[in-house]
Each structure stands twice: as C-alpha cells, then as structure tokens.
C-alpha cells in the first residue's frame, strides 16, 4: 500500500477522520453547534478533495477498493449530499430534548459506508460498506427514540428496518457464497460460462440462483418491488434527515454496486435474469405509482415514488446489456444524480418546514404554502415537477436518458409501462402542488413552528439552482458523465 494509494483514498480518510474528531469532540465537550460544524466541514473538505482528484485518478487499491473517476464522481455526490443533510438536520434537531450530537457521528459513519460502497468492486468491501451504512442508519432511524413527542414511530421503523435488512444482507451473503463457490474469487468477475469439466455438478442454475439471491437482497435495499414493503413505514417513522439519507445516499451507494456488479459479471447474459429484472422493474413502477396515488402522508408518497424511480433506473440497467454504447450507463448515472438532487430538495423542504417535535408530513400541512412562503413553495414545486419529469428540471433530462436507453435497446414494453407509470405519477405530484396553491388555511399555517436556519435556505437555493441549470443546460455534466461512464 503505497503513499499514492493513501492519497487517492483521501476522501475516505478525511471522512473517517471527521468521524473520529467528532467523536472525540463529543467526548470532550457536548456542543451541538460545534459537532455539526466539524462534521459539515469535514464532509465539505472531502467533497472538494474528491472533486479535485477526479482528473486522472484511476487505481485499484488493495483488491477491495477501486478509485476511478466513476467512484470519485459518486464520492462527490455522496459527500455533498451528506453535507446538505447535515445542514438540514441542524435546524431539525435543534430543539430535541435529548443528546443531539451523536446524530452527526452516525451520519458521518454512514457516509463512510456509502463511500466504500461506491468504490468497491469486491464482495468483502461491498459487505463492509453496506453494513457500515446500515448499522449507522439503524441508529439514525431510531434517533429521536427518547423524545416524548415523536417517540412512537422511530422505534417501530428502526426495528422493522433492522430485521428486514438483516434478512436482505443474509440473502446477499448467501448469494455471494454461491458465486464464490462457482468462481473461486470474491472480486467482481464474469460469472458466465463457468461450467468447467473439472468442477462436477455446479450448473448454471447455481449461478442464476446465486445472482437472483444477490439481486433480491439488493432489490430490498433499493426498495424495488416486491421487496419494497418496508419502505413507507421506515420513511415515515424515521426523522426527516435520516429518511433523506436513506432515500438518497443509501440508494445511490447500493445502486452503484448493483451497476458495477451487473456490468462486470455479465449477469444479464442469462436471459432468465433479464426476465426477472424486467419483472421487478415493471412491478416496481406500477406498484410504486399506484400505492402513492391517494396517499396523504408526504413521506409515504416520497417513499412510494422512490420505489417507482428505482424501477425506472432498473430499465436503464437492463438496457445496458442490449446497448452497444455507454448511453445506458450514462442514463443510470445521470438519473441517480438527478434523483439525489430532487429527493434531497423535497425532503429538505419538508425538514425546513418541520422539526423533530412536529413533522409536517401530511400534505394538508402544505396548504397555501405558495402564498405563505413563495420561495420554499417554488423550490418544492420545482422538486415535485422534476420528480414527475417535467422539462426545465433535471428530472426531465433524466427521464430523457432513460427513454433513450430504452429506445436504443428497443425495450418497448418497459417504455410503455414507464409512460403509464409516469402518467399515474403526475396525479400525486400535482395533488401536492395543488395543495400549495390553495388559499392559506390559518389553522394549518399556525401549526408551523419550526426554527428556520439560514444555512438550510442556502442549501435549498443551491439544490434549486442545480435543478434548473442541469435541466436547461446539462451539456457540461453530460460530458463529464460520458467520460466517467467509460470506466464501468
């Protein structure tokens, strides 16, 4: 392990250091602001570092980690997102009647896990990252456990999440074991045509089962149907920052792993795997959108919509097998980025409006927001329209990519489902928008007692800017994504 290796591990190390420093700080003096500052600063530095390293870093560090432009790109995304969430959570937890500092600890640790995931091309690092992330998330989900007001749900959410995601981890592990039995290596490798004469017995079906077990586990983490059922409850029960983290960073990390693994292992060579993936995609799109249709709880709506969005992404993954170019990979990349931006925005608005004591998670709470607080409402509208895939927003470009990938691989059945799903989706996004347009209802607006922090507004502004700029002139980012996608 040379010094160069350490250098290219810089972002990871910086974040880890942040965690340590924060921990010591908590040990020395309990100061909410200080802890927050430290972690935010650390994450910020990590973001910058990763961004600066992107030029021409590309090396395998130990068998476990691959630091190439692709992983660095997502390191940037993850760190930035984590930083934004940290900023949101400051105002959110400000009035929590309990120790508030540890939340940042958990958040930073979870970020470490995510960074490891996006840069892993080995089973061990995958598991390491995944579990680090999950462990921390259990804590984050359950965090306001002791606080009297909102103490019922975090516990339930956390237990559900813990049990079920442990099952999923079990699935992944078992699948990995089978693959290992087939290939003899734990690094991501091609798993096709392995039936060597020397190894009696183990037929392709072993491989397929193994792949499906892994996919099932990952599908759970990505809350793809039919493994999505936990999502709404956990989203609803968890405090908003934790939900945001789970929805954005958690999903991103897992999806990058999925992408890498599918690409390297040629899993899609097996037509049955393609079938299963298509099945999962269709199911997720329909189920997600249908479930969200008449939902009144904002967090649950976003949970269900995330199910649908993961389904959209899966289409691109399937397409990547049929396509000649890298368009489908770019599609996945761009859409992930877009998804992070818009869900961060949506959850951000919610968490700015809420606090740990009272979360405004019923869409009725947002009635008349457009006239009470036009700027927030504008941001929220932007995010929702983006989620619905309307032009002028980054969400549209993402949809465009997915459609293009689909057309390129002529997956028309999936595209029709995509169109249907988006059509249904419009309904519930517009329901929220319409609520905000309604005249102000004093009873509701009175209940909004959150403390607004300047920082949160800045973050929202940044996100909104990204939303529009990437939606109107995405050419530069497209170029970047085109180059980095070559590394998959």
């Amino acid at each position: 392990m040379t010094f160069a290796d350490l250098l290219s591990l810089a972002p990871l190390l910086i974040v880890t250091a942040t965690a340590v420093v924060a921990m010591l700080l908590v040990g020395i003096l309990r100061n909410y602001a200080a802890t927050a500052m430290v972690s935010i600063a650390g994450l910020f530095i990590a973001t910058i570092a990763a961004a600066m390293m992107m030029e021409g870093t590309n090396q395998q560090i130990t068998p476990l980690l691959i630091i190439d432009q692709y992983s660095l790109f997502f390191t940037v995304v993850v760190c930035a997102a984590a930083m934004f969430i940290a900023i949101f959570s400051y105002s959110y937890f400000l009035n929590l009647d309990d120790d508030r500092e540890e939340f940042y600890l958990l958040l930073v640790v979870a970020t470490i896990g995510a960074i490891v995931m996006v840069s892993s091309n080995h089973f061990v690092s995958t598991i390491l990252g995944l579990e680090t992330l999950s462990m921390a998330l259990y804590g984050m989900v359950a965090y306001p456990l002791h606080s009297k007001e909102s103490a019922k749900y975090p516990l339930e959410a956390s237990v559900k999440y813990l049990v079920l995601s442990a099952v999923a981890s079990g699935l992944i592990l078992f699948g990995m074991a089978l693959i290992y039995a087939q290939t003899g290596t734990m690094a991501f490798t091609n798993v096709t045509n392995l039936v060597a004469p020397s190894t009696e017995g183990l037929s392709d079906n072993y491989t397929i089962i193994a792949l499906l077990l892994i996919s099932a586990g990952m599908a759970f983490k990505l809350s793809l149907a039919p493994f999505h059922i936990w999502t709404p409850d956990v989203y609803e029960g968890a405090p908003l920052p934790a939900t945001a983290f789970l929805a954005t960073i958690g999903k991103t990390g897992m999806f990058v792993v999925l992408l890498r693994y599918v690409e390297i292992s040629n899993a899609l060579e097996f037509s049955s795997v393609v079938t299963v993936f298509s099945f999962i995609a269709i199911l997720s799109i329909l189920a997600g959108n249908l479930l969200a249709l008449l939902q009144d709880n904002l967090k649950r709506i976003l949970a269900y919509s995330s199910v649908a969005h993961m389904g959209y992404l899966l289409i691109a993954i399937i397409a990547s097998y049929f396509a000649v170019g890298t368009i489908s990979i770019e599609a996945v990349t761009f859409y992930l980025l877009a998804y992070v931006i818009m869900s961060l925005g949506a959850f951000g608005v919610a968490s700015v409006a809420s606090s740990s004591e009272n979360e405004l998670d019923s869409i009725n709470d947002y009635q008349g927001l457009f006239w009470r607080n036009p700027w927030i409402a504008a941001v929220f509208t932007g995010m929702l329209l983006s989620l619905a895939g309307i032009p002028l927003t980054v969400g549209f470009i993402g949809k465009f990519y997915i459609f293009l990938a689909g057309v390129e691989s002529s997956l028309f059945a999936l595209l029709i489902v995509l169109v249907l799903g988006s059509g249904i989706g419009l309904y519930y996004y517009l329901r929220i928008v319409y609520r905000m347009l309604l005249p102000v209802d004093d009873a509701v607006s009175a209940s909004n007692t959150s403390t607004h922090i300047f920082g949160s507004y800045v973050v929202l502004a940044i996100l909104f800017l990204l939303l529009i700029v990437l939606g109107v002139y995405p050419a530069p980012i497209m170029a970047i994504i085109e180059t980095i996608s070559a590394f998959i």
Binding site: L212, V276, I280, L291
Partner: protein
Amino acid sequence: MLDLIWLLPTFPLLGFLSLVLTGGSLPKKIVAVIGAGSIGLSFLVAAIIAAQFLANGEAHFIKEVWVWMSVGSFSPGFTFYLDGLSLVMMLVITGIGFLIHLYSAGFMLDDPSYSRFFSYMNLFVASMLMLVLADNLVLLYLGWEGVGLCSYLLIGFWYENPANGYAARKAFVTTRVGDTSMAVGLFLLFAQLGTLNIQDMLHAAEAQWAIGSGLAVAASLLLLGGAVGKSAQLPLQTWLPDAMAGPTPISALIHAATMVTAGVYLIARTHVLFELAPNVQLLVAWIGLVTLLMAGFTAMTQHDIKRILAYSTVSQIGYMFLGLGVGAYSASIFHLMTHAFFKALLFLAAGTVILSLHHEHDIFRMGGKRKQLPVAFASFLIGSLALAAFPGTSGFFSKDEILLAALEMEGPGLILWIGGVIGAFFTGIYSFRLVFVVFFGESKAHHEDKEVAGFSMAGPLILLMILSVFGGLITIPVQEVFNHGDVHEEHHVSAFMHGIMIAVPLLGIGVSYLFYMSRALSIENLMASSMAKSLHKFWFSGWGMDRLYQILFVNPFLFLARVNRADLVDRFYELLVQLTRIAHKMVAQTQTGQLRWYALSIAAGLIVIVSLGVLL
C-alpha cells in the same frame, strides 16, 4: 358608367354599416332616409347602368373589383357579371326593394328598433345584389348565405316571442340543408371542371360531359338541392309559411319578391348543366308541378291572411320551376318578375289590412272592409286578378307562356300542362276566396277602423298596382342568355287550348264567388263528411310535412343529443380513473404494518423470482 356597377351593393352596405355603427341612436327620420335612400340610389345606378347596357347592346359585361382568394388554381374574385338575366334581377331587386323600403318607412314607424330593421333590410338588398351579379359560384354563395342570414334575422325580428325565433331558425336551418348540398355541388364542379367561374364552368361542362352523364346529373342534382331549399319547393318548402312571423314588408320583399326566387335564378343561370342532365331537368318540372298543386290545396284551407299568400307564393314559384323544367327559362324569369310585382303588392296590401285591424290575421274575423280600406281593397283586387292570371294582367302573360311551353314539350308535356291548368284553377279559388271574405260580406270586425296609409305606404301600393297590370307588356332582354332551347317565339297552339287556359282561372274565381260571395254553395255542406274534414285538416297542416320531418329528423337528433349530453368518451376516461383508484385500494391492502407479514412478502418475492429465474 358600367364600371360603377360595384356601387350597387355598396350603397346598401354603407347604409347597413352606418345604421349598425350608430346603434339606433339616430332619429327615425334620418334612419328612414338612410335606409330607403341607399336603396333608391342603387336603383338609380341600376337604371342608368341598365339603359347603357341595353344601349351598347353587348352580350355581357364583366367587372372585377378584386381577387377574393387565390389558392392554386382556385381564384374566385369579387367580380360582377352583367347580362340580360342579372339585369332583370337587379332591376327587380332594387326597384321593388326601394318601394318596399319606402312602404316600411311608414309601416314600421311605431316600432322601437326601427334602425335595426332598416339595417337588416339594407344588408339583405346588398347580399341579394351580390347573389345575382356574381360571376362565380363562390361569390354567388356569399350572397346566397347572406340573404339567408338576413331572412333569419328579419323573421326573428320580434325576438321577444320565442315562436318567431323558432320560425327563424327553422327557415335558416332548412335552407342551410339545401345550401350544403349546393356547396357540395360546388366542390364537385371544381374538382371536375377546375373552375367555379360560372361561364367558364358551363363551357367546360358542355365540352367535357356527355348529355346525361353521371357527373352532370350529380352536379345538377346538388345545385337543385340548393335551389329547392331557397325557393321553398318540395321537399324543403315547409319553412316558408312559418316565415310569415316576420314583419309584413319582409314577407313582401324577401319571402315573395326576391329571395325565394333565388333558386329560380340559380337554375336559370346554370341551365346549361341542367340541359346536360335531361332527367334532372324533368325532375325540376315535376317538383314544380307537385309543389304548386300541394301548395294550392293548402292555400285554400288556410285562414291566416299571410299564410294564404305564403302558400300562393310557394305555388307560384312552383310554376317557375315548371317553366324551367320544360325549358321556358325566359318565361320563368318573366313570371318571376311579374310575380314580384303582384305578390309584393298583395303582401303590402295585406300589411295595410293587418296594421289597420290592429294585427288581426284571421280573414274570417274580417269582412266587408272595402269601404274602410279602399287602397288595400284596390290593391288586393288587382293583385288577385294578376295572381289568378286574369286575361290582360301581368300574371296572365307570364303564366300563359309557361303553360304553353309545357304543352309544347313532347312526352310528359301534356300532363304537366294539365296539372298547371288545375293549379291555375285553384289559384283562382284561393285568391278570390281571400278577396271576397276580407272585403265583401258584412263586417265581422269588432271596431270601426281607419285605414293607416300615409303617402309612403300608399305610393308604393299604387305604383305596384300599375306594374301588376301592365307589367306583362314589358319584354325582358334575356334572349341571348337562353338563346338555345328557348320557346319564347310564336306558339302554335289551337285556340281551344287557349280558351281553356283563359277560362279555367275565371272558373276558379266563379267557384269561389259561389262559395264565399253568393253563398249559393256552402262550405258547411262540403265539410259535412268526416272524410272531407280529415282531408281539410291534412291540407291545412301543409300535407303533414312538418310532422313528418319532426319525426324523421328533429326528434332523433334531439334524442341523440339528450342521451349523450355527458359525452360517452368522457365517461370512458372516467372509467379508467375509477379502475386506477380501485387498483390503488387493492395494492394498499398489502401495507399491513405487520413486520412478519413484510418478511413473508420478502420470502414470497424471493420464491417468485427464483422460480422465475430457474424455470425460464
């Protein structure tokens, strides 16, 4: 001077605009001056133009004002075409029109919306002139629709009464049916002959189409559809009697003298087409015959003074169609002119009667009015004589020519002639029935009435009387328009036939004398039999045509409209929405909140995808 022909429609148009834009703010005097004056001016111009045109004796004169639209090969223009035919029409329209405007100036004097009335009238005259002066069918169609609109507006002039509105809509929609068929005819002609300029079109048709060729038949049939619509012939005649809801001058101008004869004009204008389709031309004759007979029967049963005249109009136009059908174009046009004279006279007179009797329409509630209403009486007497083709009157000459032409025609000619003669007989009956009942006998009317007839009303009546008597002596310069197949020159008919034709109307008059004057015969006996009653009822209802159409077209349309008010298609989308909601409810059931159930779902999902993967 001829170049100024575009002034003809311009004056009335200006009158219309000035009246509309001032929106009834002008004093009535000025309104009357503008309204009648504009028509007077264009009559003046018309007269001068006519004189000049006849003087330098060209066949026709064309003046293009501007190209209307030019798309590909299709380029109709605002182009006026003057020849004998349009000359006659334009003189009739402006002349009669002027008189009637004059009359209306007095007649409508106590109507609140005086200027609205005149604005519509002027617009009407303008479009009517467009119609007859157009050199292409599109411009003609413009006038055609324009007069239709004005007739709608004027029938519904007293809009407070929904009945009038209904009559107006009925008139417009019924004629619109005909217009549509005419429009389709235009499309066909253009698609086939590549032009809608009337003369070029006719020449092209002669050149390209064999006699009796399918296209010719189709084209002439479609045009005929337009003609019967406007001219209230079978099967579209039902609107005209109801159109009497409008003020009486309207009935005189639009529904007697000018607009309703537009169909005759159209056929005469495009007679070449009809000659290319002999069967259609024969059909024209038959339509004319049947219409005139049916209308004659009905006229005998009516007792609303205006409806009687309306049906008589229908029947007279039937004669014109008969003439067109047998190829006596100039005769028909001649009859058109004379009919314009005496029918306008009759209507205006009827107007005086009605006005004097405080809007009494039922002739059996009148009677013995010849003392009180001398002018009206004189007008009615002369008008009816002319209408009944009393020898020497204008009506005699024109109707005579038509019947002779029919007689001379080989094949069905004789039958047509007989029918026409029978019609003449009825004409005699109903026209004098009207005269006798209204003006003779003892006065049934409740009040001693003074005749309201200022100069502006009496003047036109007198002029029209003169025209009705001596109009027959005018010779109309339409020879070279119809130079082929015209039968204007000497007829070789036995004196016996002549005798019949002269005698029959007198016979009719006599019959009505016996019934309504001397009471030698009594209606009561005639009406005794139930058979007669029902027959009378049937005729009275205009042969039940209204009922028929109500059942055939109106009711089904209303029914369809009613059942589908909510738009089936919309319901379909509603259904989709409902299905989605149901689906949502079903899927939402899976979110039980039970951890073990969740775990189970994962296991199940696992099993599903693994079996999918392995089995496929």
